[in-house]
Every structure is written in structure tokens, then in C-alpha cells.
């Protein structure tokens, strides 16, 4: 797995975000080694679509999110957003370009400055860009706060620690919408929340997506969460993409052994359900010294010698389903 290649990229007019060959390297201490946290990711997102990006902890999902926002600068690769290449921009031009792309973070409380009132936090983007008069700014902020279910009067006098995690995440969402973005990158927005609150926040995101015409990139480690919200899903492993495809197809017939493993790992809330045999064991290898060939081969039940020597590239295995694997779990293709 661990495929590179761009066969899964589409050629449509309404592509909002197109990422090609994204690579980022970090130095490892003073050892002279580098770690490729993201190692040749290509993605695209159409207007109004929700792309789910899943993978286990440490596979580079969140790093990918930050690379798209240019909060981290990629070592190589291109990020085209609304027809503008972001990787070559800097300073004022970059600040301006990325206002139409916003991000929601995993830790809802840490996302809000503890020293400012929540309403101030939501108002800040409008102040930065001096959009509208003070009255217009207030009206917009109050409307958005009400829309996400936060009482504007309470927001004006309270700080982040006086709200629950779910409320803080709603406030973060309100802040991310203040500048009318087209693309929202949600970096595990519900992982830190209670299950009951998770559903509320996801429903809110769906509603807001419809109301504001948003495009979502939804990063999560939990396939069950992604399944409900995504149109398309991309599966990551150790800095590479394994499989990209239509959400329903991918869940019904995963083509990559790793996708299969992730799906099998979703617990079934039924004590009578039969135990699913675990098809891969061990921890993911260190990205500092990634395995040769397909990065998944040491843990893959279907691995052969070919997998250890040659890295697979993305190839189609069906209608809108692409996989980077030498031995996909699809009849007639091995």
C-alpha cells in the first residue's frame, strides 16, 4: 500500500481543492535523519462534497490538514485551492488566500484563547479584515452564534473554560464560518467529545454545510464517524494513501487489506456478534525508517515478495474506487 500516483484525481470543473504529491519532512533531532510524515499524498475535493480522510494515529492525517492550510509548509508538492497555488504564496497574499479555507481542531477548549470572551474570539476574524461596521460585525457574530446554538449574551461575558467541550467546538465552528469560507477542514472535530455530543456536532456540521454551501474535508481515525458524513473517503497509512473511493462502495467492498482491517475494527454493538479475526497485528512501523515497497506489507495478510520490493501506485478497481495495492481484495484483479 502506501501508494503514490494520481490515477484517482478527477478532471472536473468544480474541483475546489487539488493536492498533488504532497510531501513534508521533519528533521529527527540532530541525527541527520528525516521523517516523512506525509509522503506523496494526492487528493481532490469537489465543490459541495465531503471528503473523509481516515487512518490510525500518527499516519499523518492532521499533518496533511495543516499542510493544506499552509500552517506547515510542505517540502514538495502542490496545493491548488480555488485555482490558486498556495505553496508558492507567502505573506499578505497567503493570508488573503487562505481566509476562504478554514480549519476546526481536535481539542475544542484549546482552540479558544482562554483570556478572551468567546464572543470576542468569534468577532476577531472580522476585526482582522475590518469587514463591515461594528454594528454589522455584531449582527453577523450574534447570528452565527445563535445558528450553532450558543446564546450570544452568554458568549459576550464568558470565556472558553466556562463552556463544555461540545459548546466550545460549536463556538470554534462559528468562528471558522465568520469569513464565509468555501472549504472547511475538520481535523478530528469530534474525537474529544462524548458520543452523544459527537452526533450533535456532526449534525450541526451537516446542517451548516447545506446552509452555507460548504465543502468539507473531514479528518478522523474513526471510520464509523466518517461513514455518516462523507461522500468520498480516502484511507491513509504511514504518510501514504491506500484507497480512495465513493463512501458507499468503499464500505461495502473495501479493496485494500488495510481498509478491510479498519472496517473489521469497528466494534459491533451486539454482544452476540461473532468475533472478527484480527487480520493484522503489531504497531505501525516508524515513519523514520518506513518499510520498503508497500509500507503496509509487514502487517498485511496478503503480502508477497512483490510487496516488499515494489511500491504500488493508485489504480482504478471499479466505479470511483481506486487502490494502491498489488493484491486488492477484488475478484479478477491480483
Amino acid at each position: 500500500m502506501a501508494g503514490t500516483g494520481t490515477a484517482h484525481l478527477r478532471d472536473a470543473d468544480d474541483i475546489v481543492l487539488r493536492v498533488e504529491g504532497l510531501v513534508v519532512e521533519f528533521p529527527v533531532g540532530r541525527t541527520g535523519l528525516t521523517v516523512q510524515a506525509v509522503s506523496g499524498i494526492s487528493l481532490d475535493v469537489r465543490r459541495g462534497e465531503t471528503l473523509g480522510l481516515v487512518g490510525e494515529s500518527g499516519c499523518g492525517k492532521s499533518t496533511t490538514g495543516k499542510l493544506l492550510m499552509q500552517l506547515l509548509r510542505p517540502t514538495a508538492g502542490s496545493v491548488r485551492f480555488d485555482g490558486v497555488e498556495l505553496t508558492t504564496l507567502s505573506g499578505e497574499a497567503l493570508r488573503r488566500a487562505r481566509t476562504r479555507m478554514q480549519m476546526i481542531f481536535q481539542d475544542p477548549i484549546s482552540s479558544l484563547n482562554p483570556r478572551r470572551t468567546v464572543r470576542d474570539v468569534v468577532l476577531e476574524p472580522l476585526r482582522i479584515w475590518k469587514r463591515g461596521t461594528a454594528a454589522e460585525q455584531s449582527a453577523k457574530v450574534d447570528a452565527l452564534l445563535a445558528e450553532v446554538g450558543i446564546d450570544p449574551a452568554r458568549a459576550a461575558e464568558s470565556r472558553a473554560h466556562q463552556f463544555s467541550g461540545g459548546q466550545c467546538q460549536r463556538i470554534s465552528i462559528a468562528r471558522s464560518l465568520v469569513l464565509d469560507p468555501t472549504l472547511l477542514i475538520c481535523d478530528e472535530p469530534v474525537s474529544a467529545l462524548d458520543v452523544s455530543v459527537q452526533a450533535q456536532v456532526i449534525n450541526l456540521l451537516e446542517d451548516l454545510k447545506a446552509a452555507h454551501g460548504l465543502t468539507l474535508l473531514f479528518i478522523a481515525h474513526d471510520l464509523a464517524v466518517v461513514k455518516n458524513i462523507s461522500d468520498r473517503v480516502a484511507v491513509m497509512y504511514l504518510g501514504k494513501l491506500c484507497e480512495v473511493g465513493d463512501c458507499a462502495t468503499l464500505y461495502r467492498a473495501p479493496a485494500h487489506p488495510y481498509t478491510r482491517l479498519l472496517l473489521d475494527s469497528i466494534p459491533i454493538p451486539d454482544p452476540a456478534a461473532p468475533d472478527v479475526p484480527v487480520t493484522a497485528d503489531g504497531e505501525p512501523p516508524s515513519p523514520v525508517l518506513p518499510p520498503s515497497g508497500c509500507r503496509f506489507h509487514p502487517r498485511c495478510p496478503a503480502a508477497t515478495e512483490l510487496c516488499a520490493t515494489t511500491e504500488p501506485t493508485m489504480r482504478p478497481v471499479g466505479d470511483d474506487q481506486f487502490v494502491a495495492c498489488h493484491h486488492p481484495l477484488v475478484a479478477g484483479l491480483t
Partner: protein, 291 residues
């Protein structure tokens, strides 16, 4: 547990009361009827009370010294110098150290490397040696260069102590800024298009204030002690608690009050700043847990 907490609270109140009283007395001393002028000799019934004749008592609260000066009055008047020097050095330390620390922690790269090397250099020299050398060097420079007449001993001591304050403050602020700049609310501000200046002013600095206030309070105590030490060694100010200790300590057997009371003033003041810093750090830690 509750006893400890009560003690701690009492310590905080004691520190606050002591510092308010000391500052109040020091500032208003010239107008207070019960505080003599620093150079007014004590007379009882028209008779000069020199040669440590008077111990602590009705006529002179802390007794008199060899020349007949009132130790209490001198302690109060000289508190001005200790406090002024300490506060000036702390303010300079906060401004310079804070700016260096924020710049190093936020921008990293070569700025960080230069600032870190300078901090490490300053911290690797024994603080007192550095201060002594600086004060005496500044003395020479003042005499050699014209137009530096305003750089009196007081400002030389302030300059030396500021340098001592800058290094630890810059180091702590740098570490805090490094942690803060990765926090999500800073990332959010950046992705919303805030300029670096704005991110620092609205997101980073407000969150540094608790640390800076706490460190500055403890540091103020240390600087006042350092000022006393310089005076004791004869490279500081003549009008200082440290100088009183040095001038009277040889007669400790005959007139303990002339040494012990200035020592106590110094000790209690330094302790008060430490208690205050301790209290502040606890208070702000609690907030950190909540947020």
C-alpha cells in the same frame, strides 16, 4: 492539608500587607511626623545619642548607630532605593527579556539561536561577579566619556541588575511562547489571516502575563537581595540596607540592633516577594488546569 492551605493564605496576606506598608512608609517618609530625616541625629533632652548609646525603644524604634542616626528612619528612607532599583530592573527585565523571549519563541530560526546563545552566556557567568564588574566598569566609562554624568551609581546598579533579570525572564518567556505557538487557538488565528504582530499581541502576550507577573515578583525579591549584596560589598549604593549592615556589623556584640534591623528589613521584604510569587503561581496554575 487545610493547615497548609491556611498557612499559605496567611503568607500571601502577610506579604501583601508588608509590601503595601513598606511602600507606603517609604514614599511618604518625608512627611511623616514619626520618621526622622535620614541625616537627622537623635537627641534626647538636647543630648546627642551617638556611639550606639540608644537601643530600640521609645526615642528611636530601632536604636541609633555610631553617629547617632536613627536606624528606623534610615531603614525606611533607604527602602526607597531598594524598591526603586528592584522595580526599575524588573521592568527593564520584563520589557527586554519579554521581547527577546517572544521573538525567539515565536519566530524561531536564527533569532532563536542568537537569543538562546546570549541567554546561555549571561547565565553561565556568576551573577554577582557580573554585577560587580559591570558597576565598576560603568564607573570608569562614566568618567572617561563626557555627557554621561546622569549615569549615577543608582542607574549603574539598575543596569547591572537588569542584565541579571533579562536572562531568566527571556528564557522562561521563550519556553512558554514555544508551547503557546503550537496551541490550536494560535493556529486558528493564523489561519484566519492574523498577522504575526496581531497573533503576538492578542493571542500570545495575554497568555504570558500570568507567568511574567509570577516570575517578576519572585525575581524582584532576588534583585533586592542582590542590590543589598552589592551595597554590602561596597560597589552599590551608600544609602541602602546592605550598606547599613556593612557599616554596623563590626559592633554586633555591642549594638545588635544596628545590624539586625536592616537585616530583618531585607529578609522580610525578600521573603514577602517570594511568598507573593508563590501565591501568584499557585493561583495561575489553578486557572491553567481549568482552561
Amino acid at each position: 492539608m487545610t493547615v497548609l492551605r491556611r498557612l499559605r493564605r496567611a503568607g500571601g496576606w502577610f506579604a501583601a500587607t508588608w509590601l503595601v506598608a513598606l511602600v507606603g512608609l517609604a514614599v511618604t517618609a518625608p512627611w511623616l511626623p514619626f520618621v526622622r530625616a535620614a541625616d537627622e541625629k537623635v537627641r534626647v533632652g538636647g543630648k546627642l545619642q551617638s556611639r550606639y548609646r540608644l537601643g530600640p525603644g521609645r526615642h528611636a524604634l530601632f536604636g541609633v548607630d555610631n553617629s547617632g542616626f536613627d536606624i528606623f528612619a534610615r531603614c525606611i528612607h533607604y527602602a526607597r532605593n531598594s524598591l526603586l532599583v528592584g522595580v526599575s530592573a524588573t521592568v527593564i527585565g520584563l520589557l527586554v527579556g519579554g521581547a527577546l523571549g517572544v521573538a525567539a519563541g515565536y519566530f524561531r530560526g536564527w533569532v532563536d539561536r542568537i537569543v538562546s546563545v546570549v541567554i546561555d552566556c549571561i547565565l553561565s557567568i556568576p551573577a554577582l561577579v557580573l554585577a560587580i564588574v559591570l558597576v565598576s566598569r560603568l564607573d570608569d566609562i562614566r568618567q572617561e566619556l563626557p555627557g554621561l554624568g546622569w549615569v549615577t551609581r543608582r542607574w549603574q546598579v539598575v543596569a547591572a541588575l537588569s542584565l541579571l533579570a533579562v536572562a531568566p525572564l527571556a528564557r522562561i518567556v521563550r519556553a512558554q511562547t514555544l508551547a503557546l505557538r503550537e496551541r490550536e487557538f494560535v493556529l486558528a488565528a493564523r489561519s484566519l489571516g492574523a498577522t504575526s504582530r496581531r497573533v503576538i499581541a492578542t493571542e500570545i502576550l495575554p497568555n504570558l502575563v500570568p507567568t511574567m507577573v509570577t516570575v517578576a515578583s519572585t525575581g524582584l525579591g532576588l534583585l533586592i537581595a542582590a542590590e543589598g549584596t552589592l551595597a554590602f560589598l561596597g560597589v552599590g549604593l551608600g544609602e541602602s540596607w546592605g550598606y547599613l549592615i556593612e557599616a554596623n556589623r563590626r559592633r554586633l556584640d555591642k549594638a545588635w540592633w544596628a545590624t539586625v534591623f536592616p537585616c530583618l528589613m531585607l529578609f522580610v521584604t525578600v521573603m514577602a516577594f517570594n511568598l507573593l510569587g508563590d501565591r501568584l503561581s499557585r493561583r495561575f496554575d489553578v486557572r491553567e488546569v481549568i482552561t
